[in-house]
């Protein structure tokens, strides 16, 4: 694993100078799909010499329907638990063959990352393999029809955590994925949201320079699974950061850094009640969610570097 000191400040990529080339198009993602936005933007940064790997999941399902292949760059579907290890194999194989100037990127959803793929991801970071791992988090197993994952937040109604008289939907809180990854002493890890695209692009660009494993956890809305209008995908992904229910941060040089520290949070109730998956929440549920958020921010503000 390389030292983060060696990371060069990359040339800034913005909407103005970003390549017009598309690497992920003609796919069959739902209208307003946030995951496909995360993949599309990342590939524009990592470029045509990207070797991309996707486990079973939405992007695999919508991008590789034989004979209509949606990736302009090299791309492959991996086993569900094996995206990190297969992508590692691609990266290590390319190194062994003496290939030059390429970036291996694994893209996986929240279930493929925080649940079934976590072990392989841990191994990938431990070995120090040279690749970027992007988790697009739409907070449930969407490809199979909205089942609860380890990153589904408290209160969420999914098809396996139905909300009724006896249960509030999901009873658990989101796994602390970002800190789990950081605990490996990875050279670079970050959280991002497609609602803050420039921040996301900057982070992908930074991760691209790392010689070793890097990790980005990007929040990606899912109108189909969340019960939201397809034209609010970006807005919702921005708002979640503004409410403090998600956060923008980085881990480098062994330190956590908050990139955005809102003075005032936007209303959680206003944000969640727009989403079908939270329609059933009671005031008590909102209290639990608010308390959880406040505890998290208290800790982050106390121990992490602030912007």
């Amino acid at each position: 694993m390389n030292s983060p000191d060696t990371i060069l400040a990359p040339k800034r990529i913005t909407a103005k100078n970003m390549t017009e080339k598309e690497f992920f198009y003609g796919h069959k993602a739902c209208a307003g799909c946030g995951g496909s936005v995360a993949v599309r933007l990342a590939l524009k940064v990592t470029g045509e010499r990207t070797l991309a790997a996707f486990p079973a999941g939405c992007m695999a399902a919508v991008g590789f329907i034989y004979p209509q292949m949606a990736f302009q760059n090299n791309a492959i579907i991996t086993t569900f638990p094996g995206v990190a290890s297969m992508a590692s194999g691609i990266s290590v194989g390319a190194k062994a063959l003496g290939l030059k100037d390429y970036k291996t990127v694994a893209f996986a959803g929240d279930g493929g990352t925080a649940d079934i793929g976590l072990q392989a991801l841990s191994g990938m970071i431990d070995r120090g393999d040279d690749l970027m791992y992007i988790c697009y988090d739409n907070e449930a197993y969407m490809n199979t029809g909205i089942q609860k994952s380890g990153l589904t937040p408290y209160g969420t109604q999914t098809t396996t955590t139905p909300a009724g008289k006896n249960l509030p939907g999901t009873k658990t809180h989101k796994k602390n994925l970002f800190e789990i990854i950081a605990a490996h002493d990875i050279a670079y890890a970050a959280t991002a949201s497609i609602g803050y695209p420039q921040d996301y692009i900057n982070k992908v660009n930074k991760a691209k320079q790392i010689k070793g494993p890097s990790f980005i956890h990007v929040y990606a809305s899912c109108p189909t699974g969340w019960g939201t209008p397809t034209n609010t995908t970006i807005e919702i992904a921005k708002e979640v950061v503004d409410t403090g229910l998600f956060f923008l941060a980085e881990y480098e040089n062994g330190e956590f850094k908050l990139n955005k520290n809102p003075k005032e949070f936007k209303s959680i109730k206003n944000h969640l009640s727009k989403q079908g998956r939270f329609k059933h929440l009671t005031d008590n549920d909102y209290d639990i969610i608010t308390k959880q958020r406040d505890m998290k921010w208290e800790r982050m503000r106390k121990f992490w570097t602030l912007p």
Binding site: A75, A84, G89, I90, G93, A120
Partner: protein, 394 residues
């Protein structure tokens, strides 16, 4: 002068064979009794004797996933496993053959839990017969080493592009020592050219791989996979012939016919127990009994034609295996019996099942098996558990 003969274990023979094949990437997770093979390979990487990337994966599932990834970029790959580890890989085994990644694997045949046992039988690999891998079973360390190199040549052939599993009996072969001829690297290089494939990612011609198919075309993919396995049959024979020409050792391709010509009683078996069976065949032949052994080398593709031809005139055939498909019979027997039932011959058929979890199969037991074939004992009972120490109500 370079030593060309070494006193080594089966695991070490596997490691040397793998090294001589010059893999780019090795990804393996440790499991008894495979461990020594990966330890030796690690030593070779450390010393620089082997220029390969050794990936310390955190599981067998990741071992096979990493090998597939490396293969998908055009690298030659090796992995090794056994028993529970092989089963943990099971998803990847199907994935690998379906993706047509010619990964080569050593499997140290070991019992499958429960009950736990680190010792040998063949229920691990035979339980995965349908995973689309070429499966070869070896009799000794020399064959293990030689097959490691042959395996790459067969698996990587563009007509085949199918992964291959070299099965070696746990402990009986992995941990016992014998004199093994070590092929010269230059000769191996001439025999086994570098891995070339179009089934890989490239920057000039980017590919989307591992895609999904729809009901309208899935059958055709599976059909091609099946045909590739059949296409391997002549190649397996040719490769063995070429090996014999270069290195002077011959394994006779799909099966070995040991004194089966004119034999009335034949035992069909596989793996290390072939060694013991050979001795008994010699012994009984000296006594004037017309017996023979048919050594199955490949379980997939299956040597149907060879079995039909070699057993055509036998009066009785016993299939000896360290395996059972609970609720029916041994899988090797099912396959052999299916081949023979397609001919006009109707020999007496018996399935000798035993040797589980490392229990020794003795010479006396094999003598008894031939006696059973000769006497055609209990014709209505297909499966016979030999050396069974529990009371049965049968």
């Amino acid at each position: 002068m370079k030593k060309n003969k070494l006193f080594i274990s089966g695991d070490e023979a596997i490691a040397i064979g793998a090294k001589l094949a010059r893999p780019h990437v090795i990804a393996a997770y440790t499991i008894t009794p495979q461990t020594i093979a990966v330890e030796r390979l690690s030593d070779m990487v450390e010393s620089g004797e082997l220029k390969a990337e050794y990936m310390h994966v955190e599981s067998e599932h990741s071992a096979i996933s990493a090998c597939m990834g490396a293969s998908a970029i055009g690298a030659r790959t090796f992995t090794a496993s056994s028993s529970q580890g092989l089963l943990y890989m099971a998803e990847g085994l199907h994935y690998c053959s379906g993706g047509r990644y010619p990964v080569v694997m050593m499997n140290a045949n070991r019992s499958v839990a429960l009950p736990w046992s680190i010792y040998g039988d063949q229920r691990d690999s035979l339980g995965l017969l349908d995973s689309g891998w070429i499966q070869v079973y070896v009799e000794d360390a020399q064959e293990a080493l030689d097959m490691m190199i042959q395996a790459y040549k067969i698996a990587e052939n563009p007509k085949v592009l199918t992964p291959m599993m070299v099965n070696i009996d746990g402990f009986i072969l992995t941990h016992t020592y014998e004199m093994v001829n070590i092929p010269e690297q230059e000769k191996v290089d001439a025999f086994l050219p570098p891995f070339e494939t179009v089934n890989k990612m490239s920057f000039e011609n980017p590919k989307n791989m591992g895609f999904s198919s729809q009901p309208i075309d899935n059958t055709e993919f599976k059909y091609q996979q099946d045909r590739a396995m059949f296409d391997a049959i002549p190649l397996i024979k040719e490769t063995d012939e070429e090996w014999a020409k270069t290195f002077g050792r011959r394994y006779h391709g799909m099966v070995e016919n040991y004194k089966c010509d004119n034999a009335d009683y034949i035992i069909v078996t596989l793996g290390s127990v072939c060694g013991t069976t050979r001795i008994i065949v010699d012994e009984l032949r000296e006594q004037g009994l017309k017996v023979g052994m048919l050594k199955i080398r490949y379980m997939r593709p299956f040597p149907e034609k060879e079995i039909q031809e070699i057993t055509a005139n036998a009066k009785a055939i016993g299939v000896l295996e360290k395996n059972i498909s609970f609720g029916y019979e041994g899988t090797v027997f099912t396959n052999v019996n299916s081949s023979i039932s397609k001919t006009k011959a109707r020999p007496f058929m018996k399935n000798f099942v035993g040797g589980f979890g490392g229990r020794d199969i003795t010479k006396q037991e094999i003598r008894q098996m031939f006696a059973t074939l000769k006497e055609q004992t209990e014709p209505s009972k297909t499966v016979e558990y030999f050396n069974l120490n529990v009371a049965t109500d049968e």
